[in-house]
Symmetry: C2
């Protein structure tokens, strides 16, 4: 082999010594240099970093068929497809002769990136499970561009696919050929994979769609794939929101702490998420207040109630358009939570209301008006549902509830009473859009009043990623 390489070098030096130009130089190259180069690659293709064996290779073919020959020898596939132009068709027979095998020709247009891209996609899809290489060495730049775009993208679905290219260590500008013997086939890395930008794009799309757990998975994969720590910070953020919106407040709270620990590290001072550090700190405090509330089960804890209600309202708002049945459930619960809170700060509870005879009298009177039924049809109140809670709060002089008039409540009663008939509770009713909207307004109104009374800023919305 060493002897063959020396003969090749000698042939090249002879060619250069003759100071031939143009057609004459090409002729000498074809007669004296190329046969040796071909022999070398037939015996031992020069592949960087290591030789891999492919089952299918797909090549672009322009006016340098030698490069395609070397690439095909280096890739060593059983099936060889060649994308040629009308102009380069004439090189096919030489190519087959040099390769010592048939190739399958596919005619394309030298400037039509899209058609080439589609042709490559079709061939790749025709060979599922096979190890395929795309060689973009020959042909116009538009052809190489289409080949690269196709290959780098198809690699997501066919991870064993590779993009290859015959490079050289020295190029002779006068002959416009690589210095013979310096050619090498390179399996090009996929920049999407190296930098992870396509996965990051997907993660961002999932985040935007509030699919926080899918986004977190992507960021974790990016961390592993690229070795870049800043992706882990994003993963911590996604995990926090994932748990938060899954109502796992303890988990979310510890993720929030982890996230803030990251952001205060020197390594991540310039992390884009640090723009939201203040907001994230508030959210961490909010989560802590919810965790405390769930532990104490004390409905009078203002901060926990407000953050929890805001969370439920947010979950409702996200679902209102596309999942009204589920949205209604969150709105009902948010509304009820606020009533439970307002009862609790007045020392009362919906579960054990301990009604005085006057209160009992008042409640039945109010229900009779709102439901439009004679008082004798209203049974004695034992536990407080939504309407009964409102009635008691009104009687106790709660300013937020006193705002609603009897006619408001006559309008709302059907919706407030139908909670138990919902498909997700005990019945087969599917919430209507109009009802869900009324419920949303009602719940948001009561929330705003409670929040203003408390003078607290609450913002549960996920921060912007970019």
């Amino acid at each position: 082999m060493q002897e063959l390489k020396e003969r090749l070098q000698q042939a090249w030096q002879n060619l250069k010594a003759q100071e031939a130009e143009g057609a004459r130089a090409q002729e000498i190259y074809a007669q004296n240099v190329w046969p040796l180069l071909l022999e070398l690659w037939r015996k031992e293709p020069q592949v960087y970093p290591l030789r891999e064996t492919f089952e299918v290779s797909i090549h672009t073919l322009g006016t340098s068929p030698e490069a395609t020959t070397l690439a095909a020898l280096g890739l060593g596939a059983d099936e060889v497809y060649v994308l040629h132009t009308p102009e380069s068709r004439r090189y096919l027979s030489q190519l087959q002769q040099d390769l010592g095998r048939e190739v399958y020709p596919i005619e394309i247009d030298k400037s039509d990136v899209t058609r080439l891209y589609r042709a490559v996609g079709e061939q790749v899809r025709k060979h599922p499970g096979k190890k395929i290489a795309l060689d973009l060495t020959s042909g116009t730049k538009a052809m190489s561009a289409g080949m690269a775009a196709a290959g780098y993208f198809l690699q997501r679905v066919h991870p064993s696919l590779r993009v290859a290219y015959v490079d050289n260590d020295a190029f002779d500008p006068a002959l416009r050929k690589p210095v013979a013997g310096t050619e090498k086939l390179i399996l090009l890395p996929n920049p999407h994979e190296v930098l992870g930008d396509l996965d990051e794009h997907l993660a961002q799309e999932f985040y935007g769609a509030r699919e926080f757990s899918k986004a977190a998975d992507r960021y974790q994969a990016l961390r592993r794939k690229t070795g870049q720590g800043h992706f882990e910070v994003y993963a911590a953020l996604c995990e926090m929101y994932q748990r938060w919106y899954a109502l796992d407040f303890e988990g979310a709270s510890s993720n929030a702490q982890r996230l803030l620990n990251f952001l205060t590290q020197d390594a991540y001072r310039n992390h884009p998420l640090n723009r939201h550090a203040q907001r994230l700190k508030e959210q961490k405090e909010g989560l802590k207040a919810i965790v405390a509330l769930l532990q104490s089960k004390n409905f009078s804890e203002q901060k926990g109630i407000l953050w929890l209600t805001a969370t439920l309202l947010q979950l409702g708002d996200e679902r209102r358009e596309r999942q009204p049945v589920s949205a209604a459930l969150y709105y009902y619960r948010a509304f009820e939570l606020l009533l439970q809170h307002r009862l609790a700060v007045r020392g009362r509870s919906d579960d054990e209301p301990n009604l005085s005879p006057e209160e009992q009298q008042h409640l039945r009177q109010a229900l009779s008006v709102w439901l439009g039924k004679p008082p004798e049809q209203i049974r004695p109140v034992q536990k407080l549902g939504l309407l009964e809670s409102i009635a008691l709060l009104c009687y106790l002089g709660d300013p937020a509830l006193s705002r609603f008039s009897d006619s408001d409540l006559r309008g709302y009663q059907g919706m407030l009473q139908s909670r138990n008939k919902s498909l997700l509770i005990h019945g087969l009713e599917v919430s209507k859009k109009g009802d869900v909207e009324r419920l949303q307004q009602f719940a948001h109104r009561l929330y705003q009043t409670t929040r203003e009374e408390a003078g607290l800023a609450v913002s549960v919305e996920p921060v912007e990623l970019v």
Copy 2:
């Protein structure tokens, strides 16, 4: 202008007539042809299809600086960045002279796709909101490949970005130059956009993540972008599942009909979804049965109950790992629905159980055992909760319920009674993972028995897309 073009043609013909080769030919070209070509492009760049003005252009530079000069003139940007290799650095001054302006050089490696890709990304990000063009005409194929991959991907985030390329209508192989005057700058289409493959990939990812509404939006966008009708069929599928899993069964049912209409059209006979035509037809029938159940509110309707329960179980299963609170809600409802059904086929109802004194006696006895409380602490049963329903069904000899032993039910009672204390119902309890798993098993077991009794096949899982 016409006169200038004629002079250029003449100069090219003179060059060819001299039958010069190699360095001599290049020299004549540089002296006689290039100045005219440059003058032509300075006055009127040849751009296909139409000239657009850019604020920033980024170019690869190899050993053909003329192509870069033409591209920069054609793109007409104020800021010009040139990615050159150590070898092509020497062409920078010629390039600046021909352009009559300074360019900003960035050194890269001719074979390092990733570094080039990263350099392009950095430059693009440094110019937010500006109209940017990437020119891949000059440089090695690896450089062009990296440029194309970067440009086509970055276009998603910077939609006004364009990839450009100096093509020609005729290439002279002997001189290895385009025939002078046939050069034209082409703004290359983005194959990802033309074929929509990247969007389709995203749609598939969303579908896999059960984000059906996001998937549907993507497919609708693909339909508009590519004009391909088969994307609309996918959109109909996604919309069906989106509505189904949002419990909008009427909407889902009409989507199912629309989908099956598509699939029976001649145009879509070969649509990949036709592999699932039988399953989709069954799902359409299942949806119809649910719609009928919700209308009649007759809990004894077997088929509707089974499909509805299977839907709720599926929603629970999807959420079990990551959203246990929400999963528990679906499992509870599925379980209760089966109890309501089994009571209904025996002519009973949980809401108005009309218990005989013997039944009342038996129920209180059973509850006393399961709850571990003396019978006198068990209040008379008015409506049937989960435990009471089980007790009555056992008394009525329901074979499915008789399978559960007293000790089973002693184990389950806490979980069955805690439904009302859930954060999403009336309390502040967050379902524990172990409880959710027990609930899942319990509900699935009762569902399987009911399904086997009915001898019905029910498959609510979304079909595979590919």
